[in-house]
Symmetry: C2
Subunit: 477 residues, 2 copies
């Protein structure tokens, strides 16, 4: 049957999760590959998700006092080199512009991999007095990192993101903003994307190049791998000293500012796919779905069916993102497409339903079918979408909790990672040597030192020395 082909052509998650992912991003028409190695086209269905992410996150930013700006795409080489750790972290993976037209440039420019150095160069002239602080700026843009291995959304040579960059009068205010934005990301992930996250701090080994401390939200994908889903960095006054960003304080002395940055990227679309998807394709949380309700007419050539479908759409349009699939495909094919694209609910309406004054709502995630009258439809849809949003988060949290383990000693730690996939909570001495050993042996990294600490044991899971922190460990994308 033709209807089945669309679905059959996806690899099952359990057979090959990586192939399933690749199949979904292509079949749900989120992206296409290009002749530019490592770069992708984000197609309408994919970009509409990003637009909704932008809209929701940008609203939250503005409520948190963030102002949007736009800084150049290019960074002169000498500017990138001003902060030692930062340039070491990024120089190996930047794209270099050497010619403008037919002329060789006097100084190479890199295509921004991130814009700390540009914001510093700007703030240096923009900030004079304590009255100018805080500066809480953000930009939505694309960045380039010359990755060797790439995967759609998860790792590509160019990706879209937002990067916030702030400047403050004191270290405390910078720290407050760092944590404030981490909470914004966490709230966005849980409330809007139905993705539960662990909030915590990165170890020194895993922190951002040039940061004093990096905070992260970590999510667990369906296959038990971790995905760093948003980060927030406190730079202290390190960049300010390297770039000489000073302000006249109330006491009339010159002081260096304290800075932060924080970012979330199109990578999060990968998280939506890998947390919620199933063997029929994408499953989009109602709050982020570009189309929330697809009305599918059954026997649409019969008199009145299409008209009824359009009438329902017109009725619902003010409350939901709703469409009618009036193409000349069969209903079965349309069901498969709606499922592949992850549209939260479909409404089936055919001649028999119409006679009975009823239609059927079908939930994408559970496949539950709900029969209701046309009068009830709007209310039932609202209930269904709300329930679905809530249950998707609950299900993802249950999955994560069921795949979160604890290990008090190295034997248990190794056994879990050899037999299972998920987070392992274990104690750590604070030494980078232990992180190196664990990475070498198991390809496992410290994901974060969570804000919610537990006392699993007294000693480091790796070296047996006294433990300082509980760490979430995992294999990561």
């Amino acid at each position: 049957m033709a209807e089945k082909k669309l679905v059959e052509s996806i690899t099952s998650m359990d057979t090959d999760f990586a192939q399933w992912y690749t199949d979904v991003v292509k079949k749900a028409e989120l992206i296409d590959y290009t002749s530019v190695k490592g770069c992708m086209v984000i197609k309408p269905a994919g970009y509409a998700i990003w637009e909704n992410i932008q809209k929701n996150l940008d609203e939250m930013f503005k409520k948190n006092g963030v102002q949007n700006v736009y800084l150049p795409l290019f960074i002169p080489e000498s500017l990138l080199q001003k902060e030692k750790d930062h340039v070491e972290g990024f120089a190996p993976e930047v794209a270099w512009v050497t010619h403008g037209g037919t002329n060789e440039l006097q100084e190479r420019l890199c295509v921004r991999p991130t814009s700390e150095t540009l914001f510093c160069d700007f703030y240096k002239n923009d900030i004079h007095s304590y009255r100018d602080l805080p500066r809480v700026y953000n930009q939505w843009c694309s960045v380039v990192r010359w990755e060797k291995e790439t995967r759609p959304f998860l790792r590509s040579r160019e990706f879209l993101w937002q990067e916030g960059h702030t400047a403050h009068a004191t270290l405390e205010q910078a720290q407050e903003r760092t944590i404030q934005m981490l909470h914004v990301y966490a709230e966005f992930c849980e409330d809007v994307l139905a993705i539960p996250v662990i909030k915590g701090e990165k170890t020194d080994k895993e922190k951002f190049a040039g940061a004093e401390s990096t905070y992260t939200i970590e999510a667990l994908m369906h296959d038990g791998k971790a995905l760093q889903s948003g980060t927030s960095h406190n730079f202290g006054d390190g960049f300010a000293k390297a770039f000489d960003i000073q302000f006249a304080d109330k006491d009339n002395t010159l002081k260096h500012v304290y800075q932060t940055s924080w970012g979330m990227s199109t990578r999060i679309i990968g998280a939506i796919i890998m947390v919620h998807g199933d063997d029929s394709g994408l499953v989009l949380p109602p709050k982020i779905a570009p189309v929330q309700v697809m009305i599918i007419p059954i026997q649409q050539k019969k008199e009145g069916v299409l008209d009824k479908a359009y009438a329902l759409r017109d009725m619902l349009e003010g409350s939901f993102h709703v469409k009618v699939d009036d193409s000349d495909k069969s209903p079965g094919w349309k069901f498969s497409e709606q499922e592949m694209r992850g549209i939260p609910v479909r409404v089936e309406v055919g001649p028999r339903d119409m006679e009975a004054g009823k239609c059927v709502i079908c939930r994408r995630d559970t496949r539950e079918k709900i029969e209701c009258t046309f009068e009830e439809l709007e209310t039932r849809l609202r209930e269904t979408l709300d329930t679905m949003q809530r249950e998707m988060l609950e299900r993802a949290r249950e999955h994560r909790d069921a795949h979160t383990y604890t290990a008090a000693d190295m034997e248990t730690f190794e056994r879990i990672f050899n037999e299972k996939a998920g987070f392992v909570k274990a104690m750590w001495c604070g030494g980078q040597e232990c992180e190196d050993v664990i990475k070498e042996k198991l390809s496992v990294t410290s994901r974060c030192m969570p804000f919610e600490q537990e006392q699993i044991a007294d000693t480091c899971v790796c070296c047996g020395k006294p433990a300082k922190k509980m760490v979430y460990w995992g294999r990561a994308y």
Copy 2:
């Protein structure tokens, strides 16, 4: 007086229009210069205007069936070279990436100056059948053109824009879409930005590299120079043949698609400044102003004044973009700042007003003061903003019409351009030689062959041969 300094430091428009422009973009805090030559920082006040432009235009696009996508920043050199005219037009002004990290690339990549070639490369694999047509895609992004002389918003090495790229089954449909989008731009400029435009077609000399025909909207700035404010191109099947983009038509034969592209950029912010601004700074049309109403408390330290200002803000917040200037600056200083930033109206409220139960609305463009009660305030503000929006368009149209001349012969034509600044309507034979002569002699270019043709004379203003078209001529940014 300190209050005056802000204003006095702007050069008057009549003294030096170019310097006035530079002063306004800086003093209104729209942009800042950077260490990257020819690239600018768009600051919050400038970026908020762009966000409103995006919001308005994107809504209009979506009503016209446009879907947003995102394509790569880079174009491989071989791809750029596929369409002969196109590469000749753009290659001299692109930035070339030659290295990724420490490795030299096998093939140079240019940073997109425009994305026709990328869309073609994508459509080639994306379009198979007549069922896939039309494709009406758009992207919001930044582009790079290695310009020698740059000016904020008007000409910079990197700028923000949207570029629409469509594919159709027939030439007629492509032509229809080309004109449809030109009308969208014209409507947007007149309705939202209060900028009247001339719609017309470019001559072959002035058309886009690779286009069969280019349509444009041309606006007249306050100094009498023209600004090309948006363009829409019909490519016929030229790109489709160069890139081999074919589809199976209903009759089962393979045919090439017909394509269009259309764009509007941050350049339009330059038009807003130069059409509406005055010697006190920016004047923003209410529909595009990020802040529409600034409430300025008088004697704000007196009891109840600030509370009243906040209460008015809370009352108005649902209807307007409104702010209170509660900084510790003097009212005079605040007035100057509100004027410099082009905020459409200010509301003055002080102790005496409060006793009388009244406040004063002051219009930015005419300086007209309107006294009203607090109860009337919302209604009066709505009226004032509507009137201002309408009158700004009328005034701009009157200015343009007063600076639009006609010339039937070369002597008149030259005299006008030597003595005056504006559009000159004159007949043209259709030969590029005459355009070259006119450009050489007067630095004047053909702006467009307007849709609304008039018969000024029977012969070409330049060579005296029979005329084919009436052309708008002008000096341009």
